[in-house]
């Protein structure tokens, strides 16, 4: 019995090691959205290109879509832009854009220059909808299912790797659901 007690520190060290090891490689700046499993907050926003047109939550229902939060002041958004074009044109996944806290003219020029991967671009100049959505920095990319429910959020650049390992399997999964 006495001898067994001697192993207590070793066991403690191993447990602590396992716990700490599990944390390695996790990026603490990537937060899970508080809205996972909840409907997208109510919104009514103008289209960027055509401010006479208004969209509400119906836009995000009916099919599995990505909602990409971007802005011209965001360098990472530029980096992921070509990947978004690939996703919408080549892989056939609709991407809704949310132009977040941005200048309209700059945003239009950006889409002219780099191409437009979005089926619809919503304009959120004051970031009100972004705030309700819990956006804390662009770019952010949300997977929205047919019911208009938030299923996943990726913070940061959508790289080919993120697409392959995370977004595509999720989209498949929710496309196959019911």
């Amino acid at each position: 019995m006495r001898r067994l007690l001697l192993f207590v520190p070793v066991i403690l060290a191993v447990v602590l090691g396992v716990v700490l090891f599990a944390g390695i490689g996790k990026d603490p700046s990537h937060l899970e959205s508080a809205l996972i499993g909840k409907p997208v907050p109510a919104f009514s926003l103008k289209e960027l290109q055509n401010p006479d047109k208004q969209f509400d939550n119906q836009l995000l229902k009916g099919k599995v879509q990505l909602l990409n939060v971007w802005a011209t002041w965001c360098p990472t958004c530029r980096a992921e832009h070509s990947m978004l074009i690939k996703i919408s044109r080549q892989y056939g996944v609709p991407v809704i854009g949310l132009d977040y806290k941005d200048n309209r003219q700059d945003a239009l020029a950006w889409l002219d220059e780099l191409g437009n991967p979005y089926s619809v671009v919503l304009s959120d100049p004051e970031g009100k909808f972004g705030f309700d959505l819990g956006v804390y920095g662009a770019p952010e990319t949300y997977v929205i299912d047919r019911e208009g429910i938030v299923r996943f959020r990726h913070v940061g650049e959508v790289t080919p790797r993120v697409w392959q390992d995370t977004l595509e399997p999720l989209i498949q999964k929710y496309r196959e659901a019911d």
């Binding site: 603490p28 700046s29 937060l31 899970e32 959205s33 508080a34 809205l35 806290k101 970031g127 705030f131 309700d132 959505l133 819990g134 956006v135 804390y136 920095g137």
Partner: protein, 156 residues
């Protein structure tokens, strides 16, 4: 002289820092101002993660401050304000996590470790006391032998 100048500039900066917070968000009462101060210091900025939103320069922190301000002006109580931000940004924004199943380990660990430590010290103290009682008490035979040995030593 230079020291005095630096000191002056620094004091100026401090006042400027305090002034900005108060000027941007004017309140009707001191109680509301105090609530604003406390709430913004208890909420964590999701972008610059270990700063509170009162302290952070991130755009999202300033949006959160504006929302806290708006809700205080609208007469919301502290709980409603914090809950509304948690609903958007997650439990992460609480510097002090709620006690629930998921955070139980977090809350329980510190008191548990202290308790274990206190118990260990108590056991050690009791044991050593017992040991020393036994050790100092020599039997009459032992005492006699010890005295004999000492005498022999002195004789040599």
């Amino acid at each position: 002289m230079i020291r005095a100048v630096i000191l002056f500039v620094l004091i100026g900066c401090v006042q400027y820092a305090f002034a900005t917070v108060n000027d941007v968000y004017p309140f009707d009462s001191d109680a509301d101002r105090e609530r604003f101060q406390t709430l913004t210091e208890e909420l964590r900025c999701p972008k610059c993660q270990n700063q509170d939103i009162a302290d952070s320069e991130a755009p999202i922190a300033s949006d959160m401050r504006a929302e806290v301000y708006r809700m205080i002006r609208a007469g919301a109580d502290n709980e409603t304000i914090v809950d509304s931000l948690v609903a958007r940004f997650g439990e992460f924004v609480r510097f002090k996590p709620r006690v629930e199943k998921r955070t139980l380990v977090l809350w329980a660990t510190a008191p548990l470790v202290i308790l274990i430590g206190v118990l260990m010290i108590a056991v050690m103290v009791i044991r050593s006391r017992r040991y020393s009682e036994h050790a100092t008490a020599l039997t009459p035979e032992q005492r006699e032998r010890a005295e004999r040995l000492l005498r022999e030593h002195d004789a040599r």
